[in-house]
């Protein structure tokens, strides 16, 4: 058959499932409570589970780095290195920024994963761990940046 539409293109490797991904929409919670670093790390782990193309992974890394640098700069320069009050808001906003890119790049892949009968993994424990652990790391970075300044 000459028609290229009727040429087989599906190989078992194309859909072999590894660890189940998290629902991209749910990443918003650790993103808001943990900040840009937590959002970036979780989004990258999820990108790997969803086998996202390199371009999408780079978009997440780029946004994550930009959000983290912006968060540090705003907190250190405009808010004198304070990590409470408005600084928490800046942290939440930077997390939401990373999440929005992650959600945009991962939503389609996750939906096709669901169409294959896949179930989302629970984000409760990894989400809490990332929000607390990486939130603390982010706070330490702010303190260090403020000290350097």
């Amino acid at each position: 058959m000459a028609d290229d539409l009727f040429t087989p293109t599906i190989t078992p490797a194309a859909y072999a499932e590894g660890r189940p991904p998290w629902r991209p929409g749910s990443l918003v919670y650790p993103a808001v409570f943990g900040g840009a670093l937590a959002a970036t790390v979780l989004a990258l782990v999820n990108a790997r589970r969803l086998r996202l193309p390199v371009g999408a992974v780079l978009a997440i890394v780029g946004t994550g780095l930009a959000a983290l640098v912006a968060r540090l700069a705003i907190t250190v320069v405009l808010l004198d290195g304070h990590t409470s009050g408005p600084a928490r808001l800046v942290g939440a906003l930077s997390g939401v920024l990373v999440w929005s890119v992650a959600n945009l790049t991962q939503k389609g892949r996750f939906r096709t994963y669901e169409m294959r009968g896949g179930q989302a993994a629970s984000l409760v424990l990894p989400g809490i761990a990332a929000a607390l652990g990486l939130g603390i790391v982010e706070a330490v970075l702010i303190v260090l940046a403020a000290a350097v300044r």
Binding site: I10, S100, R109
Partner: protein
């Protein structure tokens, strides 16, 4: 050999009325030699597909193919069954064999497009679907595949628009109702979704997926989850409203109201995180018994 026409006509009628169990009973009453008629294999495969009994669909399709030779309908059903079993490459093989026999069949083109969507090959799915739409733009399978393709691409508005077109053309079609329910869930319209899935179940009570979806949307109508409706409806906009309000209050030096809003938002967010699995667990035994 031909099967008795009146018995087969009855089976077709039962399938059109969405009574696959009765259609199978009728088919089982056919005399032995007639049961190997190609049309009988096709009808049996269709009835079993309607019941989502995919192992049996695959078995009947293979038996039929061994008995009657290459047949587009049976190969298509085999492809559908293999896809449902997660065997995507063999499913593609079966669908391509079917399309080699019937390259202009819109249903087969849509099945192949759906398979491509499932494995993330959306460009190819789009081209297959364009071809199917040229042949039969108002075929239910074409509407369903257009919705799936739009949904998989994250184009929720387009998916919703096509769902409305589908429902407008086939107001009582269970697939149209179920897809409408699915899109309504994505758009945060829980009540709407629950009604659609309920109607889909009423029209096709044998489909376990519709029943599961109807149950799941019923969970979200639980009073404990009612406060979360605005969040589901507005999504990220709700987050921006909350964070924006806290920012504005802080800038206006209204620290106490800002703290109250922040705490309320924190509790609300936590509730939206833990309440759905909690309620699901709470009602599982009660509503399913």
């Amino acid at each position: 050999m031909t099967a008795p026409a009146d018995q087969l006509a009855r089976v077709v009628g039962l399938l059109e009325m969405n009574r696959p169990e009765q259609a199978l009973e009728e088919l089982a009453r056919l005399p032995g030699p007639v049961a190997t008629d190609p049309h009988v294999y096709r009808l049996r495969a269709v009835a079993l597909s309607t019941l989502d009994r995919w192992d049996e669909v695959a078995e009947v399709a293979r038996q039929g193919l061994a008995e009657v030779g290459p047949d587009a309908e049976l190969l298509g059903r085999l492809g559908l069954a293999l896809r449902s079993q997660g065997a995507f490459a063999p499913a593609e093989r079966a669908l391509l064999d079917a399309l080699a026999l019937e390259p202009q069949d819109p249903w087969l083109l849509c099945q192949y497009a759906d398979l491509c969507v499932t494995v993330g090959q959306t460009d190819k799915a789009s081209r297959l679907l364009a071809r199917a739409a040229e042949l039969a733009p108002e075929h239910p399978a074409v509407y369903a595949s257009r919705i799936q393709l739009a949904y998989a691409g994250g184009h929720d508005r387009a998916a919703e628009r096509v769902t409305r077109e589908f429902l407008g053309r086939y107001p009582e079609h269970p697939v149209a109702l179920a897809l409408h329910g699915g899109i309504a869930v994505e758009r945060g319209r829980i009540g709407d979704a629950h009604r659609s899935f309920g109607r889909a179940v009423a029209h096709d009570p044998d489909d376990p997926d519709y029943a599961e979806a109807a149950w799941e949307t019923r969970v979200y109508t639980h009073p404990l989850l009612l406060p979360l409706r605005p969040l589901y409806r507005l999504g990220i906009r709700m987050w921006l409203i909350a964070v924006g309000s806290i920012a504005v209050l802080n800038l206006a030096k209204l620290y106490v109201p800002a703290l109250v809003v922040a705490l309320a938002w924190l509790l609300y967010s936590l509730w939206s995180w833990i309440a759905p699995p909690l309620v699901r667990r709470l009602v599982r035994g009660r509503w399913r018994s």
